[in-house]
């Protein structure tokens, strides 16, 4: 086979996902006789895609170092609850800051246990997933937090999810900003080179003077901040949140990253692919809704896609690194 094809597959793992997204978009549009492609539907897909993508970008950063963060669902829930709970009291600006601080805090907690103490990230973040989900339920104790009319008028509230630009929720703009910033950091800076190096081979990176501890700690804080921010964007768009907010989002975030060409073994990620992975998941969800398929089937479909994606991924990797 042509070596340049191998080389481009190697360098652009997201290519397949993007191709697939275009393919299923066309298929969905045809099957729903244009319903899926309607402006209203695309607007709603772009909002939910943006929220999921921002969370998945943080996940991708952690995956880049060869670790995992399954606490992001709970972190987004805590971010959402903090924002909506405090906004009527202190204003949406301080509420946003508090939500971000929560993200930093949980990310730091994960970072301490994984990076400093060297505990398995799956267990640590499973623990924080449950811990902060529990706190979310305890704080709301069956009630939900809602944005008051006064809060909905605030500029910051509208900047972080409540507002629309040209009919598109501002979350989509935020997702693009985060994408560009992270893309530059990961692929164009020394820090990014070291993040990928740590995921590729932590021991070798360390021997070249890279501080593996700092890098891993850093990506957990980034993941925490982005998950909390995604929670704020989602909560401001919906206008209310309860204790279950963000539940199971971590699975979609991981699925989006994996679909997008991020290797769970670390060292190879694609942020653009992750965006398309998130779009694919949300697009399928919306398609099923339009077909009036019961929502629980969505989870089944996601499961199938992720399994198929991992098989395809391995096949492609073998193809691309052969000779």
């Amino acid at each position: 086979m042509n070596p340049s094809i191998r080389s481009s597959v190697r360098r652009h793992p997201e290519g397949i996902t993007i191709g697939l997204v275009i393919l299923i978009s066309v298929a969905f549009a045809v099957i729903t006789q244009g319903g899926w492609l309607s402006i209203g539907n695309l607007q709603s897909i772009s909002q939910v895609t943006a929220v999921l993508a921002i969370m998945a970008f943080g996940e991708a950063m952690v995956i880049a170092t060869g670790e995992i963060d399954i606490s992001v669902g709970s972190v987004s829930g805590i971010g959402a609850l903090t924002f909506l709970g405090l906004a009527p009291v202190v204003g949406s600006g301080l509420a946003l800051l508090a939500a971000i601080v929560c993200g930093v805090f949980i990310g730091t907690l994960n970072g301490i246990f994984v990076a400093l103490l060297g505990l398995p990230s799956l267990l640590v973040t499973l623990g924080t997933l449950f811990l902060f989900q529990g706190i979310g339920y305890a704080v709301t104790s069956g009630f939900s937090f809602a944005a008051t009319d006064a809060v909905r008028q605030e500029f910051i509230y509208n900047t972080v999810g409540g507002g629309y630009i040209a009919g598109v929720n501002v979350a989509a703009i935020w997702a693009l900003i985060v994408l560009v910033v992270l893309q530059l950091i990961v692929f164009e800076t020394p820090i990014g080179n070291r993040i990928l190096a740590v995921g590729g081979d932590a021991g070798s990176s360390f021997s070249r003077g890279v501080s593996v501890t700092k890098i891993k700690f850093g990506v957990y804080v980034v993941s925490g901040v982005l998950a909390a921010f995604a929670g704020v964007l989602d909560a401001a768009s919906i206008g209310y949140a309860d204790g279950s907010f963000g539940a199971t989002m971590e699975l979609s975030a991981i699925a989006a990253a994996v679909l997008g060409g991020c290797h769970l073994t670390g060292g190879r990620i694609s942020l653009l692919g992750t965006l398309f992975g998130a779009f694919m998941l949300r697009g399928i969800q919306s398609f099923l809704i339009l077909l009036a398929v019961e929502p629980q089937w969505y989870i089944l479909v996601v499961g199938l896609i992720v399994v198929l994606a991992s098989v395809a991924d391995r096949t492609l990797t073998r193809f691309a690194t052969k000779g």
């Binding site: 020394p190 081979d201 070798s204 021997s207 003077g209 890279v210």
Partner: protein, 266 residues
């Protein structure tokens, strides 16, 4: 303990290891090792598998701190053990099994940990042009295939090419010390000869070269001094001319227990 010849003794050692021990849990990898290394010498560090050669190198290159004992570099006591610190002091190490990240390109591996940057709006971005050009030159100078693309993942190189790359990187960034841990692994006979020539050249340029190997006959031809380790202890430390390669091999074969050649091993 034997020491090097008188000329070397009068100088300050570049690296001085004093009573260093290292334990992993109950396992003692190094026991009370003291050894000096001088600028401009080629030292062969020899011993059987598990003798503690690589462990000693891991301490010198900052990967592991010792459990007890001291390490001095150029007369200054090392208090913080980190590979970055060692690199900053001018030490390059060709590790045996680590040192390359397969997922990164050849160029990115070359500069890993010391990436060149160009400032854009005050922010540090990778200087990709420099990364590409500098690493391409090194890859070419050290005789890797012309088809090697420095933008491609280093995983595509063969074992021998990766080893050549590691040597090339260490030699190009050479500063004061080069440590080679089994550098001729994966290499052809011709490449081995080339690596040995390189080691001698580096020494002649005034660097300290510490060369770890199993092959006493090979190192005896080029080293100024031979240090033999066994069971985590230093058992012999002699100028090359003091003993024949056969005699030294005898010490290694007998596990450092040759009667008059070193302290008793428990």
């Amino acid at each position: 303990m034997r020491t090097t010849d008188g000329a070397a003794d009068s100088r300050q050692p570049l690296i001085s290891i004093k009573n260093v021990s290292l334990s992993y849990g109950n396992f003692k990898a190094l026991t009370d090792v003291s050894v000096d290394f001088f600028q401009g010498e080629l030292v062969g560090l020899v011993g059987d598998n598990g003798a503690g050669k690589t462990t000693l190198i891991r301490i010198i290159s900052g990967i592991n701190p010792p459990t007890s004992g001291e390490v001095y570099f150029d007369g200054e006591k090392i208090t913080k053990f980190h590979p970055k610190k060692a690199m900053d002091l001018g030490l390059e190490c060709i590790q045996q099994s680590i040192g390359i990240c397969d997922n990164l390109s050849v160029g990115r591996n070359y500069f890993l940990g010391r990436e060149p940057v160009k400032r854009v709006l005050g922010l540090p971005f990778l200087d990709k042009k420099k990364i590409r050009e500098a690493s391409a030159k090194v890859v070419h100078d050290f005789g890797l295939r012309d088809t090697v693309d420095v933008d491609d993942e280093i995983a595509l190189l063969s074992g021998g090419e990766k080893q050549t790359f590691k040597i090339a990187r260490a030699v190009t960034f050479r500063n004061r010390v080069i440590i080679m841990d089994e550098p001729t692994n994966h290499l052809s006979v011709r490449e081995r000869a080339h690596v040995n020539e390189l080691a001698v050249q580096l020494k002649q340029q005034g660097l300290l070269v510490i060369y770890i190997t199993h092959d006493i006959f090979q190192i005896h031809r080029i080293a100024d001094r031979i240090v033999i380790m066994e069971n985590g202890r230093k058992v012999t430390d002699v100028p090359r001319d003091a003993m024949s390669a056969d005699a030294l091999e005898g010490i290694i074969r007998d596990g450092g227990r040759a009667p008059s050649k070193g302290p008793k091993v428990a």
